[in-house]
Symmetry: C2
Subunit: 138 residues, 2 copies
DNA sequence: CTGCCTGCAAATGCTTTGCATCTCG
DNA sequence: CGAGATGCAAAGCATTTGCAGGCAG
């Protein structure tokens, strides 16, 4: 993982700094979607203090490098998550408990590609968010 | 349309004010997604000056009443649109020209409902946003 | 009348930016 | 050494809130 980051950075002749490594590691070691604050707190937990501006800048960079994804669950701030493989997930957000469940449905891809093809639209990223009540909160 | 708004408000014993009417009208007469600023400007165009706080409060109310929908196209602010019928639209957002194209695919509903059913998730609203390059900007 | 609304301005809270300093390569 | 990164604090912006005065019912 760190190797991939290192590679992407080298490719663009950008320095592989301690901060970038630490931020990517925090993100990578969590399965949840983290906010900039979450990342900052996690860093403090492990004794690393990194300025918030740097956290924001690094998160944006990771997204730009295609190594992380950015999500907006209507909380007033954004969350980030490392992309593991190529797969992208869609989300169900419970408006009661705030829980986020990821899902993936192959058939969805097929149906969507039909629409895109018809419109001559070249997809880059997509976000599918379904708000509602989860199983436990029903 | 105004009748519906009037009815929803009465039902909750909330006053049907000039401002609420004007804001709903602006939204209703536009086919596009409007930001709070857009609404404020449109109101000024027709000689009505309404405080921005009221615009925000009314838009939130319309969403709560189920008469309007809120969208976030990653521009740093939100946009609103009146719900015409029951139908909800999904969107393709061109990252080059910023254009938003609405679409609707019946098969999507079917595929999604399978996922939701499996998870025991009760949907309330959903947002499908596909970012990419539109036909004209290719 | 009474409660909810409106407007203004001030406050919020996330995110971005300017700038001096430091680090990677 | 030099380009780019970092940190801090200040700035930016969309959105929210407090409060005095107004309007709908």
């Amino acid at each position: 993982m760190m190797e991939i980051l290192r590679g992407e950075l080298r490719e663009r002749e950008l320095p592989f700094t301690q901060q970038r490594e630490a931020i990517a590691r925090v993100l990578f070691e969590s399965t949840r979607h983290l906010s900039a604050d979450d990342v900052e707190a996690a860093l403090l937990d492990r004794g690393q203090q990194i300025g918030k501006a740097t956290v924001y800048r690094s998160l944006a960079l990771l997204v730009e490098l295609g190594l992380a994804t950015e999500h907006d669950f209507d909380e007033g701030f954004r969350r980030y998550q490392m992309k593991v493989g190529a797969a992208q997930y869609d989300h169900m957000i419970c408006t009661v408990c705030g829980g986020v469940t990821q899902f993936r449905q192959e058939e969805l891809e097929a149906v969507l590609s039909v629409v895109l093809q018809e419109a001559g639209f070249e997809p880059l990223t997509r976000q599918i968010k379904i708000f509602g009540t989860c199983h436990d909160c029903t």
